[in-house]
Symmetry: D3
Subunit: 302 residues, 6 copies
């Protein structure tokens, strides 16, 4: 069994051997050549991103959302600096100079973690979400400089007007992120304000978002600084690797101890992680995405 | 020695006897008949409000400022209700509905106590003051929903625009309060917003303030609700009396133990409290206010 | 479709037209003339208060409980003032004078929201509830001046003795509130202390409660001030309307998009909200309350 | 130069050599034999406890007060346990069972440090002090389960009635502690409640206090457990030694670098620490206490 | 019906009468003579510890875990003192001297309650658990001096190296506690550091744990102080009894009102509590533990 | 009168006219050509950095220290990222992964402001200072994840070993910063850890510090990332300008209203700001630094 963080590179395809188990992020639905390579190699590919519990949670993705969420506030603070193209504002203010206003669209894992850090930096924070029960919980546990607001187009626009930093945190695991901020809405914002779009790995939740890299992280649209780095957690690999191992290791031990077949039979979440088994494609969405033959897992495990 | 909270009423003048010591609030500078009555009675009048330490503090006034400051936020919350003529806003908001914005002009005893309560009520609070060292201390100790801002006309105007509740807390012991909010500035405010002018006992810090009573506490000017009740602490007499006794009792014991003459010689703060001594007027500002003869205290105590 | 906050007034009955949908609070079970008027008008009446999820939650009532809960502490603080007939106590106290003691009976939505505000006002707060798991959660998230206590008759009596303010927050959606404080227990309380009975809309949780209005909010029984205003949230209509719209709008959009019939078939919570459909009475408890004919919803939607 | 924590033991007297400097706690005023031994040895004795700044602070005693204060709450918690003779109460309570009430008499260094820990343990804490400015500062910085109260006999009695734990923290450096709790007042307390008298090193602030040891720390009077261990910080020598060295080391370096004579001439606080100089007794209170000859320091340093 | 806290003593066996219901802690599986005595007496024994809800919770054990958890930090603080054999460290430190480090293994009821108190005492706290969702919740609600860490052997060892106090809080209701700290791991710890093993009632979660008593609570292994008192809550019987009654009383009222038979039929949690019914043994694990005849409850209740 | 933020550039020298007042940062002691140019121009130069109150405070420098302090933690967080050459650690950690450790050397304005932000970012923070009274105040007001430690070489070394981020905040207004971290000590640190030297404007408090710019902010020595940007506040010019104007404006108004001569006579702090008066050099340290003639201010103002 091979355990990694990233999918196999083409240069590594030749090294894979039949009967090996590879347990890593694969994202096969977006990569046909990789899919075919995995099928041809005859390995059993277990993908972090498709491990899914009965109640729809994706436990191997959550830690990355936590890391990205916490980073988002920190990146926003940095790119608000003048030499970084921002409007030259300190989130915290100082005594006698007001703190900045941070607007977080989305109150899930990413948004809540962003809010903790933005609040800690001393800003005045508003979290918008459509799930009122979630907002109630956030109201219970957040520090007092965090407010909650029902998310709708009108409220978003009102808040964009006074925001110094916006964090886009509307993302649904496995789906394309909804576009909640349009180019027109961007024009309401103050020049030099900053948007961090954490949903960029799923297409971004702004009309004006396009993927950037840690090497060249920001660009400007409508006079607003956009930070849209894909795979944000890679910048804090030390923390991310620990966080990821915390959740993958128990599965790895299960697989190692019982073999993947029995482990998958006994744990439906893990079963969902099996994308290829000995060359057969067992993940329906991947099969459909590439027009390849789908083999139900049940047929192969028994 | 008689200890009271309020000055003697005309009906009580006849009851005062020579050689009695009366230790209470007098405010003689504003009341010539009372001054003359006290002189004629031959009593020794020691006024709470003129007891003053070497560094200019008035220890017998501070507790009332604390009470009034804490009440101010509570009154503001109440008069923001619709049936009270306010705009029908809950300071705290609820999950999904934003908290109100409270602006406190003045960060002294009154302002700091108002801020604690307004913040506790869940509002987003800004304290303005011209003393940056004071703002730094407030930044150290206040909860995170309280921000600080240098007080100047521009900043006040900016904040009035978005305020739901304004607390006027600019007052200087023994002096007329400066008028920091003009009628014109009031027009920037939202209709139905509320102003509590805690400085009203010293003339008020708004152009539009005029004294009201607990029986009829509010009126409207420029569509803004004004709460300008004089002697606010009277409404919570239970708390106020305790608070006052905490500070007056040690002086009373000093007077009772040593006699007023020795007590005043040994404690310059108390000496400043002596307004009349056996019929002679020993408080210069009172003498000047009414054109009466002033007798230096030193001449009488030796 | 007409969306309102309050039920139609008699003067509006004539304006209603067959085939209209009216989506508002109705409380038909308590108002036979209104019920008959709605039936005769031929409209489809969808009542906020009977929308109910499978797990028994009433999502369109919760925001009003949050508003009322937060208001309760603020009202209690106000009516403790002397001119309001209270004992003249400031909830917060001041340095050197103890804070007041607030007892909250019921730790649900109302009680928890009351406790947040009472604690913010600086009082020493105790929440009583019979649900220990709820008390554990409150112990996790409440500020440190909030304690929790198992609710039973003995504990309530002990706490009433030292309470300055009691908030009655024992209410069960759709049912008559239990009477947890008797007249005899009231006699244990200090004269001039205050009770706010938030359960008054469901009959009140005190033996001595009777409904009052925002115009004349309090009365005295057993020397204790009673604040028993029905429809408390109306006083902060600005906040309440936002809070209500946050929860009703998604339902309204569902109805508008699919028609009420399909919307009700697909969403059992909404289906429970349908009280009359084209003149037929589809809410069993209402039918039973008034001895009118009940028509099962299923017969009408297919 | 010899630096220690405790005074020289009789067995060590012979080891002391003329011209040595011994820098430690001496407490000579309470120990005539030690005083004479130091004089005869010809050493220069610099006593931690008499180093005193111009404004009356004793910087080498403060850290021990901090340690003792923090320990006090912890000892109180422990001796409230049943097997320790206490009433079997957990300071924190648990959800559904009320927290205990802790009364701290004295809000100085000891009291404030006790309050932090008692509050952290989850108790409901009241600090009594006669200095209102101190109470105001404590009100600013303490957690919300700490209240402040003017200290006087009446208030102390009221609080004793409901206290589970009382911490006596009324002590004045270098003076006998005042007796603020009499035997009669003790009778108001609940059986099995606990008193920790941190002032015991200065005679104790209770009528019923008598010194105990870490080996046998508690006894019972009037059914109240008394913890009156002298030299409390010795039990946490690890922490105490660090804390003490933090403040003594700068003085030691000064003495080592300049010699004691020049160091004392340049630093009046240190000068006050010199108790004997080459056999002469230079500390007036010690001389007076034992009827020994006093030699002014000035005569010896020039 | 007899309600107690502890199991009947042999001296009490003769007092039990047929048809009585005894509702208390029994722990029959560990005590064959008691089991036989209960069977012979003909009573109905309902055991607190086997009352169990459908989702596996044991509501009558939880309060004792809360009490023990909160006590654990307090005991640790005490036994770190030098005269108690600890390393003489104050958990809180003082300004200028670092706070101690507390490591809590297990983040369930015991661990979370320990952490609250240890954090309140001012220590730097780390909670280890294998359940990441639990750690996320703890991260939301704990004060800022509490960190969370995935529990595994490596992380435990790393933390033991720098720990001053370790709290063993890994326990599974009704099962033997896993041994998470071996003797070898203990050798990594600093001499004089303290371990409190709250899991001792279930065998302890350290290799070196063995039961002690309140009379003789600690012993030393590998230079580490072990506090392994069984039945910790007995030391704070005042608090424990209240906490226990809060949860047992509702069951007692149910039994008293309906009779045990109907009460057990209607409440499966209570049914699990029935260990003997009129002499028959109805608790399977107890029957198996002692090789006695088991009678299904269903046969006896109908 | 001309008010600026930075000193006049050589290109601006020709524009200055006799009798003009220039009120800005000058730093003349470090720039002989500028000094001579100012003398030759005949202007009156009032330098922000030498305005100094009687008690040695430099009120026009403090706001910049506040800004730099708050920025420092934010910069440290950013440069800990892998692409920034740091060790790839998130200060906050995530649930299950420990937070980073931040060591702040110096607890003055810079250090305290750094600590607030670092603590807000969720790190475990230690502040070292030699002033124990300052540490006591910080202990009172800081969040619970901030500890205090006496600053000395040993303690610094111990803490460097486990630090992820070090903030050098040891600076004395107007003096060269002491070198508290040597190259040798740096070798104790973990590779990829980060040091932010806020004292760099005064020469830096590390042996290995050398000035960098916002354009090229970091370099590596001994495998530790050094951020030593001079004039850090320039990056947040929006905030800095407000903060500076808050303190300079009152002086400017004083000068404008009274003329510099009377203003300086009446305000000794401002008088210290006068560096040149009509061509004469009135600041002794500047005169000494460059061997130029010094003219006492008194001679020129009368």
């Amino acid at each position: 069994m091979i355990m990694k963080v990233k999918e196999p590179l083409p240069s590594e395809f030749g090294l894979l051997k039949k009967d090996q188990i590879v347990f890593t992020y694969f994202h096969l639905a977006a990569d046909k050549p990789l899919t075919i390579a995995m099928m041809e190699s005859g390995i059993t590919a277990i993908a972090y991103e498709t491990v899914e519990t009965r109640d729809g949670k994706t436990p191997l993705l959550t830690p990355m959302s936590e890391v990205a969420g916490r980073m988002a506030a920190q990146e926003g603070a940095k790119y608000l600096e003048k030499p970084m193209m921002g409007r030259g504002i300190l989130l915290a203010g100082v005594p006698g100079v007001p703190q900045a206003r941070v607007v977080i669209i989305g109150g899930g894992v990413v948004g809540a973690n962003s809010a903790k850090i933005a609040a800690g930096l001393g800003a005045q924070v508003t979290i918008l979400d459509t799930n009122l029960d979630r907002l109630r919980y956030l109201d219970d546990i957040m520090p007092k400089n965090v407010g909650t607001l029902m998310s709708n187009s009108l409220n978003i626009q009102e808040r964009l007007k006074e925001a110094d930093l916006v964090i886009g945190a509307v993302l649904i695991p496995g789906a394309k992120a909804p576009r909640v901020v349009t180019r027109a809405m961007l024009k309401l914002m103050k020049p030099g304000s900053v948007i961090v779009d954490v949903a960029i790995d799923q297409g971004g939740c702004l009309e004006t978002s396009r993927p950037t890299t840690h090497a060249d992280p920001v660009y400007i649209e409508e006079r607003v600084v956009h930070y849209c780095v894909t795979n944000m957690p890679a910048a804090v690999a030390g923390t991310s690797t620990y966080a990821l191992t915390n959740v993958t290791l128990p599965y790895a031990l299960e697989i190692a101890g019982k073999g993947y077949a029995r482990a998958a039979r006994e744990d439906t979440a893990l079963a969902k992680g099996l994308n290829t088994v000995g060359g057969a494609l067992t993940c329906k969405p991947v099969a459909e995405a590439h027009g390849l033959e789908y083999r139900p897992l049940e047929d192969l495990l028994s």
